[in-house]
Symmetry: C2
């Protein structure tokens, strides 16, 4: 197949006419489809329904560290929940804090704590303008948290191995106002990239001039494989162990995409120094999180093997969906030279880069035809994609038949936007 | 009976000898009793056990405002939960935000939001030293929140009608750095005092020089009656309605002491302006709280009548405990002129003022005999009771036979400390 760029304008115009007709036909259907949301679909939610009936009046609410998990107390969670999350994260349970239903909230609280208390000589909010590194495309809600606190977000390009480490190393070595970096190290949002061993080692060995620099390691998709060739992520805590960077990493995860997004359990892994620092804040913030939901999860899963078996059920739902999306992209767009995309082994998204300057147009064309996508630019700090090329596709939520239709429309819009760009 | 003050020293010394013998006998038992914790006891926790099995795989998870309550979304909670809390609080559901498991956490987040964003020309944290009024004796965790944020806590004396309003009105009219007041308006912690209608009206009509002054109305015990003569609290939102103070009050409550402290649901009521302000922060902090726990509560209780019927079961457990505590105080200490105490109609505590300068000694004597009380001074800002006289008794948690023994020891210690004071 010939690329669009090497096709003559007359042929492109004819192609555009055909695409427009197909587009108009879809538009006439008055559709309302959504590929914007990184949410599990109903079929996935059903997988965990049996967890709802795990606790009964006959449950033993006494645990090794809590006389009654129905009552107040246990600020950092139940031991048995720490154990389970420790096993998921590959850390000792003494380094785990189990919290509420949202790891985003824990990260928000962590940034707030570092703003107010700091982790060095001075709180972050007493150091004038401070900055955070934002590998992009990345997760808009991460960038939103630092922006909320007035921290300047600095874009760092993503490579196929994770953040561009040459740039990261240079920046943190030069600028003491850079206080941290957002990372989704496995199946990154939106690209599904897993950081290479070298990237993890270089992050673990960073020499920031800011002694109060922190890596926010959001391992949201740590066990969220979607096919038979899962990625392996090096455990950064194993790498920093015994080094001077032992306090540099704070790791987060949750069961939002394991059990229920609306009723999961979130956890954090960190050094004892960091946990002590955070507890200085948490002790005033709450008496403790929902221990019955912790107990519900632990009794339902029993152990790590139980969790992993459960994830295979998610995979069974997600694998064909992702395959359909990447197959459609391959079939409709390969060889045209107008887009490239990721084929992730896990996570919740497929990331596609359309022709520079076309992402907003594609999203807008889709919207007109009744297909809602994540806003163009959302994957970059302040919502500004410098090339206007990245679009995040979320294949998990819509019913399969809707997803198929949405993908057909999406591919038409990508082609139309490309031809508009090439013929203008 | 003669007061200790009017008793001659010889008689007092003889009495002290008898008390010491009784004290020594208790001490020899090697007891470990606890009257410190404002926690429901096991019998109370059992009342709500049937709530655990309300949700099943067959539950309809779709609600009027949420396609699936198992999934992400609904930042401010499910409508049906807002309705239930609105009915409990006596406000329209449009003024309700339903959150996580802890109203303390919601209050903490509210203070954080006001520090960062403010509710006037400038955020609170950009106004130099700011202050908060702390009616005392009061709730130590309230005072802890403002202290954590570096806000100066100012003690305001409690009267039998609530905070001393002459002082409150004078302070807020003089000092623009006073940004708020902590209130537990019904069955206050620890005194069990319900603010009089006049107090509520005067609070509602405050004219603070600080335009960004806020009343934190922690209605923790709003329906927590313990006998047949419950207090009535004027609804402050009814009073401020249509006045220039509509944005001045933020109300909080939770089901921690209705269902499970470890797994309840918290809610907030506020003006639309205030909710919009808080959501500016919450939208970055989380995607939403545990909606399944909201659904669990709503389906279990059905409506306000269901909640009130449930509270009668708590009353049945608590009434005899509180009666035993106040009966013991009456029997052992009345007429001696060495203590006075409250006889609350609800809440979680009995507050006792022992002779000035004796509270620490009483707590210490109790501790030596194996009875843990809330630390003397804990009910005052910075843990400093100027008169060293207030002690908070928490009758709900220990088994009844332990409570009886603890009260016997407590009364002995109050008498011993008083005689020590009078004869030194």
């Amino acid at each position: 197949m010939q690329t669009y760029a090497s096709t003559d304008k007359t042929t492109l115009s004819e192609e555009y006419k055909k695409l427009s007709d197909a587009y108009a036909a879809f538009k006439a259907q008055g559709l309302s489809l959504n590929m914007a949301r990184g949410k599990p679909g109903s079929e996935q939610l059903n997988i965990s329904n049996d967890m709802l009936t795990v606790l009964t009046p006959d449950t033993c609410f006494k645990t090794d560290d809590c006389p009654d998990s129905r009552n107040y107390g246990n600020l950092d969670g139940l031991n048995m929940a720490k154990k389970l999350f420790g096993d998921i994260l590959g850390v000792d349970q003494k380094n785990v804090f189990v919290g509420g239903n949202s790891s985003l909230n824990m990260m928000f609280d962590t940034i707030a704590c570092l703003m107010e208390q700091g982790c060095g000589d001075k709180p972050w909010n007493q150091q004038g303008t401070i900055k955070f590194l934002c590998p992009a495309p990345g997760y808009d809600r991460h960038f939103g948290v630092t922006a909320y606190f007035g921290i300047e977000n600095i874009t760092v390009p993503m490579t196929e191995n994770g953040p561009d480490m040459d740039i990261v190393e240079k920046l943190v070595a030069e600028d003491a106002s850079i206080k941290g970096i957002w990372c989704v190290p496995k199946y990154s949002n939106p690209q599904g990239i897993t950081y290479s061993d070298e990237t993890v080692r270089r992050l673990a060995a960073l020499k920031p001039v800011a002694k109060d620099f922190r890596i926010i390691w959001d391992n949201a998709y740590i066990i969220h494989d979607i096919n038979g060739t899962p990625d392996q992520l090096l455990n950064i805590f194993d790498v920093i162990k015994g080094t001077e960077n032992e306090d540099m990493v704070l790791e987060f995860c949750s069961t939002s995409k394991i059990t229920f997004p609306g009723a999961g359990v979130a956890a954090m892994a960190a050094s004892e120094n960091n946990l002590a620092l955070l507890k200085k804040r948490y002790q005033f913030q709450t008496i403790g999180y929902d221990k019955l939901n912790m107990l519900r999860h632990v009794l339902y899963f029993k152990d790590l093997d139980g969790v992993l078996a459960h994830m295979q059920k998610h995979r069974a739902v997600l694998e064909p969906r992702f395959k359909m999306v990447t197959d459609t992209l391959e079939q409709e767009l390969a060889g045209l030279g107008i887009a490239h995309w990721t084929n992730p082994n896990g996570g919740y998204f497929v990331s596609i880069d359309v022709m520079d300057g076309c992402a907003k147009r594609v999203v807008s064309l889709c919207k007109e035809a009744g297909v809602v996508l994540t806003g163009a630019g959302a994957t970059y700090p302040y919502g500004k994609d410098p090339k206007d090329s990245n679009i995040r596709l979320a294949p998990t939520y819509p019913p399969v038949e809707e997803l198929e239709k949405a993908m057909a429309i999406f591919c038409i819009c990508v082609k139309m936007a490309a031809i508009e760009q090439l013929t203008k």
